[in-house]
Symmetry: C2
Subunit: 227 residues, 2 copies
């Protein structure tokens, strides 16, 4: 069983990589023109599984209701739990199920965006598959890459997953409400982020308690206003 | 910059997958014969980044010193921090740096094992790259797949990453000391694990405080005794 699964999975990976890779950039460029034409601010939200991407997006859209009109495209290997969770914020959510693919591609995002009324939106948030490696090489046509790191994951992650953090425009340090309980070394973590991602704006938040979220909202609204 | 990085990375992935995939099984079988011949119990430890693999392995080898002779092979994209941390337990540790590859392969493990004196060991622990997707398809020649899930990651992870959990012989729920603070829904988590991985033995532990680790040690020693 294990071997069979391996072979099928791998053959698919090969086909996808061979055929689509330069194609991904074409689709990303196509997405970008579409998004720009409608004045949308588009975020690609990336992290390890369980860093709190969904909770972060859900809270952002709930708290900004009436101020920013948002929608979400969610990528997952299996289940549509996240789209259901996000729908509670009142924002439209489209789920992409990727099967064994550990990242979203621009073409999938373009198709999912076709199910949304983009003219009625200010912000489109793409929640990528939980993975600190695979999605880093795939441009989806976004304006900003937002990389989440949960305080509970430890301060060394930017050093161990440099490619992901190097491409971040924003780094969100989430779960700060339980950082102390987790023995999180905040100073070292911030040093590591600044060393690998000197370009990134950093926010320290808890999507659960709401701490630190206001600064993120102010910054996001400002970015949207500049479009 | 982003586009260039994408192309290089992807081309490498294609070459690796095309060339090595059936080869991986050959190398895995070769590892397995070597490990069996020396009576070693070999674990492949897998999880998302930041679930506490290194702390779990470090504590296991420290606490079992004098009872089980262990060594570790550690895979990471970048840095040799983990091998250094594990070396504190007194166990030999060999670091494999994978660059942009999000999993270990059997051939790399075979080479790393060549740097260890296998006849002097009871247990070989392979710490895979932190990723809940890529490593699942690669047999390394291990006896047991040990999948870690941190309580802080949430109870839905087995449903969202089914391929990884389906192949687990053991599921370790780690960071139980801060499970309550993280709002972890233990009953749902255990249900989800049993649903996706009915074959797996489950241990609920904290590698930091040591809670629950004794049951894991007893089980591990028993498994080693059966070799």
């Amino acid at each position: 069983m294990k071997e069979a699964a391996t072979e099928t999975e791998s053959r698919q990976v090969v086909e996808v990589n061979e055929g689509i890779l330069s194609k991904n950039d074409v689709f990303a460029a196509r997405n970008r023109s579409l998004f720009n034409a409608t004045g949308l601010l588009v975020l690609n939200v990336l992290s390890s599984p369980g860093s709190g991407k969904t909770a972060f997006i859900e809270r952002t859209l709930t708290d900004l209701r009436g101020r920013l009109r948002g929608a979400v495209i969610v990528g997952d290997l299996a289940t549509d739990n996240d789209a259901k969770r996000i729908a509670r914020s009142g924002a439209p959510a489209v789920q992409i199920t990727t099967g064994d693919m550990c990242h979203l591609e621009a073409e999938m995002v373009g198709k999912a965006a076709g199910q949304l009324n983009l003219d009625d939106l200010d912000v489109l948030i793409i929640e990528n598959v939980g993975n600190l490696v695979c999605p880093s090489g795939y441009d989806l046509g976004e304006n900003l890459r937002v990389v989440l790191l949960a305080a509970t994951e430890g301060e060394d992650k930017p050093l161990k997953y440099p490619v992901m953090f190097k491409t971040a425009d924003v780094v969100i340090v989430n779960k700060m409400d339980i950082a102390e309980a987790a023995g999180f070394d905040r100073a070292t973590a911030l040093d590591n982020i600044r060393r690998i991602a000197p370009q990134a704006v950093i926010f320290e938040v808890s999507a659960r308690t709401g701490q630190g979220m206001q600064q993120w909202y102010d910054w996001l609204e400002q970015r949207r206003a500049q479009m």
